[in-house]
Amino acid sequence: MRGHTGDVFLWLIGGSAGSFNPIRRALHQITYMPDVAIVLCLHRLRSPRLGMAEALGKLHGWEVLEPDDKTPIRGGQIYVAPADYHLLVEAEGYLSLSVEEPVHFSRPSIDVLLESVVQARWRRAAAALFSGANKDGAQGMYWMHKAGYFTAVQDPADAEIDTMPAAALALFEPDVKFRAEDFPKVLMQALTL
């Protein structure tokens, strides 16, 4: 069974207002990769329990799911953080949920997810931050960067709402500043490093 910190590349993608459509478009352009798991942490309305995974549509080969607590991390899967829970990566190779306090008024919080990856010392991972109207994710991206992971931030000029990417860029220089249409290439680039 897969699901060790060793063999799955974790691609973490965060965003808020204005991020869903560019992320969905990008995901529709990437090929299926059995050794890569993508984790989406997008701010969303509190109530709808189902919806985002369906809204992404059918993606070539990828299985899209809202993980339950302690779902083993496997390649070829796209995990969508469920509404009203923090999503954390555990070193043992699974995803945990938590209902502790919102961070930057957000649950799920991108900072909480990224911090957990740093704490777990996941071997191979990368993170991207898209458009958004608050500062969640900026610090998490910085921590990922400091820990030596590949980081990519959407160019604020390209973002529908620039607060979130601008907050990250105020803290550090990521490996890549990208336009949404180029994100599929950025995603592949990180895998070759």
Binding site: R49, D69, V89, A91, L97, E115, Q139, L171
Partner: protein, 277 residues
């Protein structure tokens, strides 16, 4: 301003913390999921401006009076009245009816926190006319939360949310019958707690204490690693009468639990199960 990463907790310090809690106080954190435990320890360390977890360990060793506050800080108390209203509808419509004819109804809330879930159950039982034959046990490891639960008073700002959740479950119900605003607080009718006993109890380390027709254990298992989930769910299923109901959090899973084969789903989406006869 750039906040620092929550203080890093090393595995050695964590090990020491677990030892202190276990040997000094009998709290067993060995089976807690590391990511959120480290995160919560980090936030306690930060709150007190301590240089690291070893100082917190020191404090726990030398100041036994601090323990109850620490337990309150380390536990997650997030809850609300009729949290996940559709799950409560499923409980009311699908799970409870077969139990209506029973002469008594023993209910256990595991990890009852500040009591909103207990009040939800009490209101549900009042609405369907079963409250008088119910005995409700509400347990938690955090005595500060239990004290709050006994008061059944919450900040007024929560009224809108609680009232909406209530109306989703009981469209024709009258919320004012159960809660009133008083001096900036939402105060619940004390009659709701008449058949409720709050008890400090640790499901991880202590024996269970009876058999129940209904057990609710929601968003507690998420803080445990799979092996401990297995043990705890085993204890819960042992504590259910045949045909009894177990309700867990809507994103919790029994995937890791061997006791799951003694259950059958009542509503898979809402994570409500019935113990096989």
């Amino acid at each position: 301003m750039l906040a620092e990463l929550l203080p890093e907790v090393s595995d050695a310090e964590l090990e020491q913390f677990i030892q202190v809690m276990l040997t000094q106080y009998g709290y067993d954190f060995r089976g807690y999921a590391p990511a959120s435990l480290k995160r919560r320890l980090g936030s306690v360390i930060k709150k007190y401006g301590l240089p690291g977890l070893s100082m917190l360990n020191q404090r726990l060793l030398t100041q036994p009076d601090y323990l109850r506050y620490f337990i309150n800080e380390i536990t997650v108390s997030t809850t609300e009245l009729f949290r996940d209203p559709t799950a409560w509808i499923a409980l009311k419509v699908q799970a409870l009816p077969p139990l209506f004819a029973l002469p008594e109804l023993r209910i256990w809330h595991v990890g009852a926190s500040t009591g909103e879930e207990v009040l939800s159950m009490a209101i549900l039982l009042k609405e369907i006319g079963l409250y008088e034959r119910a005995q409700i046990f509400a347990t938690d490891i955090d005595e500060i939360s239990i004290e709050k639960a006994r008061l059944a008073r919450y900040p007024s700002r929560l009224k809108g949310l609680y009232q909406n959740n209530f109306r989703t479950v009981f469209p024709a119900g009258n919320f004012e019958r159960y809660a009133k605003e008083e001096g900036g607080q939402l105060v619940f009718d004390s009659g709701l707690l008449q058949n409720v006993r709050f008890i400090k109890h640790n499901i991880v380390t202590e024996a269970t204490f009876g058999s129940f027709e209904v057990i609710l254990c929601r968003n507690l298992l998420i803080y445990f690693v799979p092996t401990l989930q297995d043990v705890v769910v085993g204890k819960l299923v042992d504590s259910l009468v045949p045909g009894g109901i177990l309700m867990i959090g809507t994103k919790e899973s029994l995937f890791w639990c061997s006791a799951a084969k003694r259950l059958m789903p009542v509503n898979d989406v809402e994570r409500i199960y019935r113990k096989r006869r």
